[in-house]
Symmetry: C2
Subunit: 342 residues, 2 copies
């Protein structure tokens, strides 16, 4: 349609017969401008189809209206929920959320962060607490409001968080799962997760609970980083073939746990009698599954909402130094791990 270049603030000003500054004000602080001129300006804006060029205002205000979020993969339903809640909260506060997926690659993480940093982000959210050394350096040298999600600093040598933290104890979550399996009467619990700092902590908790309860260490096998339903299928097939010896399984994500549930059914393994299954995340499917899935619930919405709140406070300059918010986790016992008559 219109081949001519886009109208600018000054075009609007000219058409409305006022100065550029007045147009600027009419758009950002309407109450600072008389009713009459505002109307003229609005009219001109509509007539020209004027859309302010945010790059220009960013340049002078140093605010982009963008919050960055680095996550592993949007394909993980818990993260999708979190991102959605974050996005809605931030939208209400006038921000857009720019998402970067690291897909568990440290290189990718550093690359994304570097690229994000140039965008004058008003805030940054990291959906995990364990970073590549190079990433850490970048993070420490920046001064934008920063929040880490999910991983509370813990363990033998707790990491030094680079920002505020909203999360839960991975150790405690793993311990809760281990304790539950022991209490159910299972004797050979196994852990199926990914091999990284976060899941190592979950395993540490799991192991301690199992070892305290049964005097033996649980088995541990690693699955792929991206939580996938097929990982659960594989595990059960290997159990059926006798390659893995266990009577209960803790998966660090509900998706593989659901895959395990289906596969047990297919292969005739009775859950929870022959094999107990515990997931992680409490996705909606856990409640609906048959048998329903015992799992560790993470209050994802609360994580997201707290994050938005903290971030907005930080941006407004209210230094809320509650640097650590523990939202906790909770074991939800359902049908897939029933108490056995010994």
């Amino acid at each position: 349609m219109s081949t001519k270049s886009k109208p600018t603030l000054l075009d609007v000003a000219r058409l409305a017969g006022v100065s550029g500054m007045t147009v600027s004000r009419a758009l950002s602080k309407p109450d600072k401008v008389s009713e009459q001129t505002r109307q003229k300006i609005e009219q001109a804006v509509r007539e020209l189809g004027y859309v302010p060029n945010l790059a220009a205002s960013q340049l002078v205000t140093r605010r982009s209206g963008i919050i960055g979020a680095l996550i592993t993969t949007i394909t993980n339903p818990i993260l999708a929920t979190t991102i959605e809640t974050l996005q809605q909260g931030l939208a209400r506060a006038g921000y857009h959320l720019l998402i970067g997926e690291t897909r568990f690659s440290q290189e990718e993480e550093t690359k994304l962060l570097r690229a994000f940093l140039g965008r004058q982000l008003d805030g940054l959210i990291l959906a995990y607490g364990y970073h590549a050394p190079e990433t850490l350096e970048l993070l420490q040298s920046t001064d934008i409001p920063l929040i880490e999600l999910w991983d509370l600093p813990e363990g033998e040598v707790p990491r030094q968080p680079v920002g505020q933290v909203v999360g839960f104890s991975n150790w405690a979550a793993g311990a809760a799962a281990g304790r539950h399996l022991v209490e159910c009467g299972y004797r050979r619990p196994a852990f199926f997760g990914y091999d990284d700092d976060r899941e190592n902590l979950r395993f540490a908790g799991f192991r301690q609970a199992v070892s305290e309860g049964l005097g033996v260490d649980p088995l541990r096998l690693n699955t792929s980083p991206v939580p996938h339903i097929d990982d659960g299928v594989d595990v059960i097939q290997r159990i059926a073939r006798g390659e893995i010896d266990c009577d209960s399984a803790f998966f660090t994500n509900d998706m593989p746990a659901i895959g395990a549930l289906f596969t047990c059914q297919r292969l005739g393994i009775r859950v929870p009698d022959e094999l107990g299954i515990c997931g992680f995340g409490d996705l909606p499917i856990a409640r609906v599954a048959m048998p329903s899935l015992t799992t560790v619930r993470i209050p994802a919405e609360r994580v997201a909402n707290s994050t938005v709140e903290l971030l907005c406070q930080r941006i407004r300059g209210e230094q809320s130094w509650d640097a650590l918010v523990d939202v906790g986790s909770e074991l939800v016992a359902r049908e897939s791990t029933a108490l056995r008559r010994l």
Copy 2:
């Protein structure tokens, strides 16, 4: 740490003993600068921790390096997969993806679009083809490369697409499901979806297939817009209570279909004998489910990859006027709809 304001291009130039322009070149077109000066500059960049301010370059180049995407909800696994693939492809081409969730609200859609337009997007992706009138106006008056996903223009009065389109026929997809249920020998198929333009088209195809095969129109009941597993649970509970009379169900998303599968199991409804169930999307869980889920496969990755390719071509100015890419859809027959002995 560093309280002083961020270093600029000129700070780097000063430290390296060259002009700002040379630094700019060294960073964007390294081969246009002598090896020696480049080294000096790189050194200075590192020393100062310089990060270019993209707002400034955006202002002059009019390119943001951002592609916008308007989707309904990231919570829909098919969209999550698509977004992930899109993001990876765009990252390779040097773009970031800014996601906006409309959550099925037309107001939200318009609001987001308006906000996005000011960001000097280099391209825009719309993950659906049916827009609010106000949105349409905005879209038509803009000249940024634009691609619509999923919905091919079709129906009695095919809509006029606002950009290039990568998608499939919703009508054909619905028809395939209807035809399949009829061929399986079911006599009272029902359709469970959301009431919008897109799903109306799927229903139209479904109805035509059913009506041609059986001489009767299928039942139709509406579910919530956001595909949720609980919708499937509700439907089966109502069937069990005798409130809905059907012997086979087509859900327009795999998630409610899976919820239906589980609930049938719980209530003792035999699938596929008593009730046939067909989903939509072919999520990984469909193959793993027990019984495995018959569904309509949408090649989400192909959609995403075609989109990236088209978008990059458009941005480079290669006007590829294959405005319509039909990736097709495919019925995948599995255990949840088995052929009956009549």
